[in-house]
């Protein structure tokens, strides 16, 4: 675009708005629409209790996204550290509350909204790591001393989330951080070493897992182990999916879902429900739309000003986070990964995830909107 000649000139609100990537937003809307349709079917052909709510939440999510996109990228750079520390504090609050007799809790009730600090932490950790890596020279990153700080940045919140206990989210944060470590240029062999370390420590880690977590992993390895109990979900999910065939049983006609054989059909297992009714073709459409969305993310990272290392890292981190959501959810409901309780964002019923991914899309867009200028530190 020819509007921007001076690389350091700030854009007006109107310019920023028209710099948004509207194809990206369109795809988001398509996915949300698929979500609402599936929720409509899950409720037996009614917009209550899920479809309408989900639509409203997506609307709210769109507002959050556009607001986040209109904010100048410098703001994210500035608040990275305080935001990180604040979120860490919230995590601590939730943990302490959970361990002082208030029952296991993952959220803080704000009255109108249940805030999950672990969800915020996914954002915070990306911002904080990106800030650290952008300010640290490659030579230092490549030394042992240079990675101690980022390891601490990651390890502390992951530990906090792990004891909630929320294995799924802590693993996601860990994978996402690993991707950022890799992007920052840390040598291959160090990853190999870490992987070896984890493998060696696996038996000890196994010991620290809760029984239900162990069960999930065992059940994943052999669902027939307990077909009425822990294996029931995954067996029924496979039946739903497989019986859908290539073209599906038709909208509102998924027998496994409508007769309640399929558990959690409106939340974690919504992909299965959709694939029962719309078949393999339907499943591929969802995967393809998400692939486009993720490809756009990579394009944003390429496209923004070369000097904006922080921005590129934030975009890649948040994009990876979204990819992990989609991949882990789909892989677990089709029996490729253990059932770890990760929803399919934009489609699964649930407000927190929608707001949180839409916020992260907004931050990505904020960098993209200001793609032709340098980041003023």
């Amino acid at each position: 675009m020819a509007i921007i000649l001076n690389q350091n000139q700030e854009l007006s609100l109107k310019e920023r708005f028209f710099n948004l990537n509207f194809v990206y937003i369109l795809i988001l809307c398509l996915l949300a629409m698929i979500g609402c349709l599936t929720l409509y079917s899950a409720a037996g052909g009614k917009i209550t209790p899920w479809a309408l709510n989900q639509g409203i939440r997506f609307g709210m999510g769109l507002c959050v996204m556009i607001t986040a996109a209109m904010i100048k990228p410098e703001f994210y750079y500035k608040i990275a550290t305080p935001f990180y520390l604040f979120t860490l504090f919230l995590l601590l609050v939730v943990d302490v509350a959970g361990h002082t007799g208030m029952g296991a809790q993952r959220w803080i009730n704000l009255g109108f909204f249940k805030l999950q600090p672990s969800e915020l932490m996914k954002l915070a950790i990306v911002l904080q790591l990106a800030r650290y890596f952008s300010n640290t020279p490659l030579e230092e990153i490549r030394t042992i001393r240079g990675i101690i700080v980022p390891i601490i940045i990651v390890a502390v919140p992951v530990a906090f989330i792990m004891i909630q206990p929320d294995l799924g989210t802590s693993l996601m944060v860990l994978f996402c951080a690993t991707a950022l470590f890799y992007l920052a240029g840390i040598q291959w062999w160090k990853f190999g070493l870490a992987l070896g370390g984890v493998a060696a420590a696996a038996p000890i880690l196994w010991h620290f897992l809760h029984d239900y977590q162990k069960n999930r992993i065992l059940t994943f390895l052999d669902p027939e182990r307990d077909p009425q109990g822990a294996g029931y979900h995954i067996i029924q999910a496979k039946i739903a999916l497989g019986s859908g065939g290539a073209w599906g049983k038709g909208f509102l006609s998924g027998t496994q879902s409508h007769l309640n054989f399929l558990p959690e059909k409106h939340t974690d297992f919504i992909f299965t429900m959709f694939s029962e009714e719309f078949g393999m073709i339907g499943g591929i459409v969802i995967l393809f739309l998400n692939l486009i969305l993720i490809s756009y993310g990579y394009w944003f990272a390429f496209r923004i000003h070369p000097s904006n290392y922080f921005g590129k890292m934030v975009i890649l981190g948040l994009n990876t986070n979204y990819f992990l959501y989609v991949f882990i959810n789909v892989a677990m409901v089709i029996g490729l990964l253990p059932v770890v309780g990760i929803p399919l964002p934009l489609i699964s019923y649930g407000g927190t995830v929608i707001i949180s991914v839409m916020a992260s899309f907004g931050i990505m867009q904020s960098f993209y909107v200001n793609r032709d200028r340098e980041l003023k530190k």
């Binding site: 020279p137 019986s243 065939g245 027998t255 393999m280 499943g283 990272a301």
Partner: protein, 603 residues
């Protein structure tokens, strides 16, 4: 500057690598979808259907059992049940139960059980409150239906025997399926809870054809087992009706003729062998068995000395006594041992070796020809005749006339009786035949045993002119003419004359039993059989009067009869257990039965 370029280059390069990995992982997901949804589709489609569909068998109505005129002897009646569906109840279930308690007369134990059942089942499963509701109970519940949503009245069919004890023996009864039944048959209907199967009598023998063909109801269920909708309903077919030759009017009359006596009577159509009545007294109410009989009722039936559970008409084996003289006479006539003029002198006793055989008449009958010997039931005449004739010829004629064998009656526990001969004795006792045994066989004592059904068959074969009819409960559609036994008609008319004299002759043994119908006469033969041997000592001391003995030691009383004499149609055999006197007790019963048969004029 160069260094920060390095950093950027690494970032971009590595982001491409991660992007490629992402794309690769997406294709892994697509591959998995292909595997599950295309490659394994059939497998999962089947599993989804087996999740979703459930099939229930529909029990067809059981075929009824009818008498020869189409009167239902075993039928199905409506059975009303009160059921409660917990989830449809508005308000408090306990309050509802309280309200219906006085109407259905529920006991506190019933209420306890109902509450337990409700807790045990899912809330949409109907729980039984009370079975076999009376009309009053049904109508009261119906009238107040609006007050108790969730309370439903369900109707089913239950087997019912309207003639109760009159038909209990040949018909039998149905009961719950036992473990043994399940081992013997894998018919799916047997698995249906509450299904009833024939346990005895015709209900058991013809169970499979009475049962009918099951229907099925295929329906869709959800994960909790709730029925969502019917998919397909295949109606079953009602079991085949069983049409018997019995005439229930005659059956009732025959049964009632016994009063309190224990015994059995069988009435045949002498030309077809159709059994018009077959009773065994005392009897029982088969309806008690349908829902499972109580221990108390069962014990009462089992330990009754008059054995109500035994069908004496086919399972009771008795010495034929003097009725057997008819067989001996025919055998002797055929063999030429006697003719109508043959004359034996009865002095009241006969000596064989050093053994003395007595006639029932202490001072003897004097000179006797065959007709007189039958009329007076003279023992000496038949002792002499039997001695001349030999046991083999007696046995041959017995078998020819249908004794010593079982028939295709479709009933269990049919007894064969005993027709002794030399081979039989050797096989049974490993000793030779004694002449004295022939003597007592001549008056139907000793080893000879017959059932009432066999005896009436014998009589029918004689009086129908010597045709080999066999008794049957089922109407045979194309009635083949029975084979001739090639008996000499003159011999038959001689024996019939003897039996005519028994009832109608001056001084005949059963003159009191004459039919009270003008113009129709009957013939018959009495029989009295010892249940215990009379010892020499007792005979010397003077025989105790039979009625002074305890019931179970008294003599059995027989009477067999046919009517009308000139053109016989009906034959009846009556045994009264421990009835003491054939003429006094059994003959009146037989004549009552024949009178009824003639009045009914059964076609």
């Amino acid at each position: 500057m160069k260094k920060s370029n390095d950093k950027l280059r690494i970032l971009l390069k590595r982001s491409l690598i991660i992007f490629s990995a992402n794309i690769f992982l997406f294709f892994v997901l697509v591959g998995r979808l292909y595997y599950l949804q295309i490659y394994q589709k059939e497998k999962y489609a089947l599993l989804a259907d087996s999740n979703r569909f459930s099939t229930r068998l529909l029990v067809p109505p059981r075929g009824s059992i009818n008498d020869r005129n189409g009167v239902e002897l075993a039928t199905n009646i409506q059975n009303f049940q009160a059921l409660l569906i917990a989830e449809q109840v508005r308000g408090d279930i306990n309050k509802l139960l309280e309200e219906i308690t006085p109407i259905l007369k529920l006991t506190p134990e019933d209420i306890e059980q109902i509450k337990k059942d409700i807790k045990r089942h899912r809330r949409f499963v109907p729980v039984k409150i009370k079975d076999n509701l009376s009309w009053d109970e049904v109508s009261t519940l119906m009238l107040n239906n609006h007050r108790w949503p969730g309370l439903v009245i369900d109707q089913g069919l239950i087997r019912y025997y309207p003639f109760k004890q009159y038909t209990a023996h040949p018909l039998g009864y149905v009961g719950s399926v036992s473990e043994k039944d399940l081992q013997q048959s894998d018919a799916p209907l047997l698995q249906v809870p509450g299904f009833k199967i024939g346990k005895s009598g015709f209900e058991k023998t013809y169970d499979e054809s009475l049962r009918g063909k099951e229907g099925s109801l295929k329906y869709e269920v959800n994960a909790y087992g709730r029925i969502m909708r019917e998919i397909e309903k295949i109606e079953g077919t009602k079991g085949e009706d069983l049409n018997l030759t019995i005439d229930i009017r005659l059956q009732k009359a025959a049964f009632d003729a016994f009063g309190d006596e224990a015994g059995a009577a069988v009435v045949l159509d002498v030309h077809t062998g159709e059994i018009l009545a077959s009773v065994s007294t005392p009897s029982f109410d088969p309806n008690l068995f349908v829902d499972g009989i109580s221990q108390k009722n069962w014990d009462a039936l089992l330990y009754d000395e008059k054995t109500p559970l035994t069908n004496k008409a086919i399972s009771g084996q008795y010495s034929p006594g003097s009725t057997f003289k008819v067989v001996v006479a025919l055998a002797a006539l055929e063999a030429g041992v006697i003719d109508e003029k043959t004359d034996y002198f009865c002095s009241g006793k006969m000596k064989l070796g050093n053994h003395l055989f007595h006639c029932w008449k202490h001072y003897g009958h004097g000179h006797q020809t065959l007709v007189n010997a039958l009329k007076n039931s003279c023992d000496i005449y038949f002792y002499e005749t039997a001695l001349e004739l030999g046991i083999e010829k007696i046995a041959a004629m017995s078998r020819k006339l249908g004794l010593g064998t079982t028939y295709d009656l479709g009933l269990e526990n049919q007894k064969k009786g005993v027709i002794p001969d030399k081979a039989w004795k050797r096989q049974q006792f490993k000793t030779g035949w004694q002449k004295g045994e022939t003597v007592i066989a001549g008056i139907g004592q000793g080893y000879v045993l017959v059932t009432p059904t066999q005896l009436v068959t014998m009589l029918a074969r004689v009086v129908n002119g010597g045709y080999e009819i066999t008794p049957t409960f089922i109407k045979r559609p194309n009635n083949e003419a029975p084979k001739s036994l090639h008996l000499n008609p003159h011999d038959i008319s001689l024996v019939k004359q003897g039996m005519y004299e028994v009832v109608n002759g001056k001084g005949g043994t059963a003159t009191r039993a004459k039919l009270k119908i003008k113009g129709i006469e009957m013939g018959g033969k009495t029989g009295t059989t010892q249940v215990r041997r009379i010892s020499l000592k007792e005979r010397a001391e003077g025989i105790k009067k039979d009625e002074d003995l305890p019931w179970k030691y008294r003599n059995h009383a027989w009477f067999m009869a046919y009517a009308p004499h000139d053109n016989p149609k009906y034959a009846v055999a009556v045994i009264v257990e421990h009835g003491r006197s054939g003429a006094g007790v059994a003959a009146p019963i037989a004549s009552k039965i024949l009178e009824e048969a003639i009045k009914l004029d059964i076609r």
